[in-house]
Symmetry: C2
Subunit: 225 residues, 2 copies
DNA sequence: GTCTATATGTTGATAGAC
DNA sequence: GTCTATCAACATATAGAC
């Protein structure tokens, strides 16, 4: 996993598709993502990123303005499709059975990252999982900002769905349980990325949904004596 | 939470207790912990740490040799007592009811950090929680090394305890579920530190144990269809 | 759009005085 | 044990040529 991106990537003819614009930005985003996964925001340097992308530091600053903005773009690129898909799944559930149950809600929450992983190469998959874990726990301020920006609406929407599924639950408790369930996902992705688990992705997701569904339901009551 | 440690701490007469040795090392450990909580390993600098401790960079290097060693000592100081207490609780359970059940095992795992938090001041508590979360997710290599060093034996011991509590479970599945349960703890501590949750510590721990117990039992079967 | 060159600051660590 | 002074290496960012 370490040192996936050491050698400088030389520009090639195919880098610039026939009818398209430069892909320098895309290569920078890829490289930024890679180093973020390996070292975190504070641990990665623009030099390392631009070197891996095969461009100069100034090119990166020309396109993105700063390290912060580059990383923000790279993270958004990954997280936004996942969250869109989460909403899509939840919308679908609510359209078909107006009050989806706890398991369905949690499945809609957990499934998208696994789907995206399935569509990717092995390298991208490992990467995505590490990025997800990192995004949730990197102390750098800007990462925290993105976290809030991206998780705010998802959190609200899915908390409400949990309340609907369990009308007796306190809204604050529902938010807390969703938050805890996020921890489960992070740990799953992290564990898989670190090869801690030897199970296939489908089993992993199934275990995750089972664990969370039973856990949320059990911890839903106001006073867990 | 940010900027808890900006002003340089001036040495005072009371810093050197009457009959004792210098407490410079202790102050350095405190400062290192504080900055690690706020910024992570790569985000903190020796200058910031030593400035907060009221000593020079060279004094820190005299005592610890390197940033790496300083941080290692600071983390070990916090984690080791917690793990000792975990073993103590588990030993106690096994002495009294030779096969503790899932809930008892998980309670022995979760309780110590909360106990330690209860014995601390509010500031120390916030700090401890952030450190715990950070320790588990900081990408810096040395942090990963400490993680393995400190969690190795705990993981093994508690996985075995889970297998004993659920004889039908696959050992690999037990290790995975324990790993997931760690994610729950991290998220709880993190959420509490970030003031996401407005509940008191006892309720929080109770929710955590409930969630994990139900989750582990539900996800224990070999094939979660 | 991308480069080279450079400005300006910070880093971790050490040498040597006291 | 602790300091001041200093090091080489590295950081992010920009100016200006092409």
């Amino acid at each position: 996993m370490r040192d996936l991106a050491t050698a400088r990537r030389e520009p090639q003819p195919s880098d610039r598709p026939p009818g398209g614009a430069s892909d320098t930005k895309a290569r920078l985003l890829d490289a930024a993502e890679l180093f973020f996964a390996e070292r975190g925001f504070d641990g990665m340097s623009m030099r390392a990123v631009t070197n891996a992308a095969g461009v100069s530091v100034s090119a990166a600053n020309y396109h993105f303005g700063s390290k912060l903005a580059l990383m923000g773009a790279a993270l958004r690129r990954r997280v936004e499709p996942i969250n869109r898909r989460r909403f899509e799944l939840l919308d679908g559930l609510e359209a078909e059975a107006s009050v989806p149950n706890v398991e369905q809600v949690l499945d809609a929450f957990y499934r998208p990252p696994f789907e995206q992983a399935a569509e990717s190469t092995e390298a991208q998959r490992t990467l995505m999982r590490t990025v997800a874990a990192r995004l949730w726990h990197d102390p750098a301020e800007m990462v925290a900002a993105i976290r809030v920006e991206l998780f705010g609406e998802v959190s609200e929407r899915f908390s409400v769905a949990l309340v609907n599924a369990m009308p007796e639950i306190e809204p604050a408790r529902a938010r807390m349980l969703l938050q805890l369930s996020v921890g489960l996902l992070i740990q799953t992705l992290n564990g898989e990325a670190a090869s801690f688990f030897s199970t296939d992705a489908d089993t992993l997701r199934a275990v995750l949904v089972r664990y969370a569904t039973a856990g949320v339901i059990a911890a839903a009551q106001e006073d867990p004596s």
